[in-house]
Symmetry: C2
Subunit: 321 residues, 2 copies
């Protein structure tokens, strides 16, 4: 569905500001509490937070994170799910979200309704109140940034740093082929899995795979080490290959480091009891860069998605600063 | 200063993603804590919050909230100050911010450096750590949305609702002429004033003036009432007139309702002791709509800034949903 309309009567500018905001509140429905705890005041009021909190922000932009082939409801859900995936990667759970929408006056009200309804349905599913937002106009764009607030689900938050030489590298689900298969908007963020992993001390570091494993793994790699991956172990999505699994990105899976001395078979057994439908794969380990065995994947020859280059046909999964 | 460069070597795309992110961290400097408490992980970790929290989001967009006449440092500071003004309007103080940047590959790195340095200086001034962000690319745009988290400064948060028939209407500072005078980026958010007012039970409702008083006052007006304003009392910025003061917007002043029985002279005296350099003006009161005296300003004949209309030459101060 094309988000822009040539018929001025169907556009958000025909609605005008006051009606559009009333519509947004209706479209969000029970996903958005009443002011001052939700939309309608200068700020939204949130309850006190006993434990450590987590915060992240990610956008979806028309032409980069979704296009006309993605149903608007799915684009709205993707906006929240991308952020939920970041929260999952630290073992968190969501508490509230706010949305900043920047759109051309020609955006169709019908498209926008479906976008918000998709976001709202996803927000209800994951119990994330949409507590505030802002709508601003700019020519030729349709972009929405969502800031997600969360909390640790246990005593520990798992960072990207913490892996050591010898640690095993695990990945959830399957990699590659996200754009062709529609996984990039159909995926389920690994919230339950992330919380489960955060409770296991053997899990030393974790992140989500969004720009492609070959690129993202750098952030998890201990200093002086390199990831020694066995290409034949990579869990490929149907139709994908090693190159796709390493470089395409938008996988929204968790990659994490497990202490060298941990009991791998016991971890696998516990995992499959907890998540019988989700693959867990040990794909290699971190080794001192000078002691890499022959036959491992030369990750430097694969590049994950590079942002801020002249636009190509690929969607841009966004870049955490 | 023009944010776009025709010389590819000076653009953010010439820097590339990795270097740009390293630059952003350097430009933010001490305004941005280290991961996991700042930029560099999937989420930023924030401390627990004992009291109620506040959250708000507002963008600045090139061509709407700033243009080539606004120094990039001032545009960066404005992004934070707009959000601080929303926090001030509820009596809050800031705790952390995250930034979502959407920019064309042709944005000049030099421009962006000044933008971030201006944001960082403002963040240090108001002690708001910039804990996270995202950079994404889109053609022909330069937009930044900032989500600001805060806390109540006292036992009370002041909402827009709560005014009653008979309440007096007060406004801080001066109104009108914000765009011509540069006030729209030079203003000081009324954080101290907002916190001070939130501690006074006589202050029943409060908001900031961003779209023009004529429009914004609707949100403060009790049901069945209308604001009875005396045009001769409006605190006009030099060079502005009643029409400008009511409609131009971007004033970033506080407007609030004071209980009818409150001691006005005592309030004024206390105020001038606390804020000797900031005007405080009683501009009228809320009266039952059917009992309006003759001679008051007919606010319906003035319109504040209407969003989501085909773009005019005016900047768009953004619309809270």
């Amino acid at each position: 569905m094309q988000p822009f309309t040539q018929n001025a009567r169907d556009s958000v500018s025909a609605l005008g500001e006051e009606k559009l905001i009333a519509c947004i509140r209706r479209w969000l429905g029970s996903a958005s509490p009443r002011a001052p705890f939700g939309i309608g005041d200068d700020c939204a009021v949130l309850p006190a937070a006993r434990g450590r909190q987590l915060i992240t922000v990610d956008p979806v932009i028309y032409g980069r994170h979704f296009d006309d082939t993605v149903p608007p409801r799915a684009a709205g859900a993707k906006l929240l799910k991308r952020n939920l995936s970041d929260l999952a990667a630290m073992g968190g759970r969501p508490t509230a979200a706010v949305l900043s929408l920047i759109l051309d006056a020609k955006v169709s009200a019908a498209w926008l309704e479906q976008f918000y309804r998709g976001l709202a349905a996803c927000a209800r599913r994951y119990r994330v109140p949409i507590v505030g937002g802002d709508v601003a106009q700019a020519d030729g764009i349709l972009a929405a940034s969502l800031t997600l607030l969360g909390q640790a689900t246990g005593p520990r938050v798992v960072a990207r740093t913490g892996a050591r030489a010898g640690d095993w590298i695990y990945v959830t689900g399957e990699l590659g082929g996200s754009l062709g298969s529609g996984h990039h908007f159909k995926f389920t963020p690994r919230l339950a899995e992330g919380a489960w992993l955060a409770r296991r001390p053997a899990v030393r570091a974790m992140m989500d795979v969004s720009d492609g494993l070959a690129k993202d793994l750098h952030a998890l790699t201990p200093r002086g080490c390199a990831p020694a991956l066995d290409g034949s172990l990579l869990p490929l999505r149907r139709g994908s290959d090693v190159h796709g699994a390493l470089t395409e990105g938008e996988d929204y899976e968790l990659v994490f480091a497990v202490a060298a001395r941990a009991d791998g078979p016991a971890l696998a057994e516990d995992w499959h009891r907890a998540f019988p439908r989700t693959r867990l794969t040990c794909i290699g380990r971190f080794l001192p860069a000078k002691k890499l065995p022959p036959g491992i994947l030369a990750l430097d020859t694969f590049r994950g998605y590079q942002h801020l280059r002249p636009m190509g046909p690929r969607k841009d999964p966004g870049k955490k600063t």
